[in-house]
Amino acid sequence: MAQKTTIHAEDGKQELMVTREFDLPLELLFRAYVEPDIVEQWMGTKVLKLDNKNHGSYHFETTDPMGNKHGFHGTIHEFLPNRKITRTFEMENTPFDVQLEFLEFEKLTDDTSKLNMHIVYRSVKLRDQMLQLPFAQGINMAHNRLQEICKKISPLK
């Protein structure tokens, strides 16, 4: 089976590319990034703030199974509906520096679309750390929460 999500990370570069094709019209894919209650479902996070506009910002918070809260936030630099979101991403209370993200949304057919997520890190070392994070953790907490949420979602909202 072909992998729908691909990661392109060249050796010695402080950036990586996440690419994914969706069986969704472009507008629906983009909506998943815009509407807080939808973001909450697929990201498995609480949306404290989501101000989608040029010079906007967002603030999310996840709670791990131990009950600890993990916040992350960023500034939305550029917001072009159905086309592009340029934003920063920073995990709170971690030694990891902020990263820059370029999200480009592309229509493939009436029913399919593509997302290119270009992430730039402060250093090669940081990029490699972030790449290895899920590996190092073995079982990623966000991933676990996501699975829980997926199970909880009822067939129709």
Binding site: T5, A9, R20, F22, Q132, F135, A142, L146
Partner: protein
Amino acid sequence: MNLRRDVFQAIADPTRRAILLLVASQSMTAGAIAANFDTARPTVSKHLQILTECELLEQEQSGREIYYHLNPKKIKEIADFIEPFRKMWDDRFNALETIMKKYKSTK
């Protein structure tokens, strides 16, 4: 198990990467490996020890000699180290897709 040393630490060193490349084509003794480097023999031995500890290299006794060869299983682990990161995004995007399809059908 030695928690102090993982495979990524092992391959972070250029000499150790060169050793892995050397033995990739054929099993070699410590002496034969060391002959390829200007580094002092004990230094090479130390590198071999680290690579063996984290199971990237395996030792094989042949007569009086010990030969080193790659452990393909462990090498594959390095090749796949990006996989959990990819899987994490894949799972997220799968959830996104599943959720949005419901919005589509309710339209």
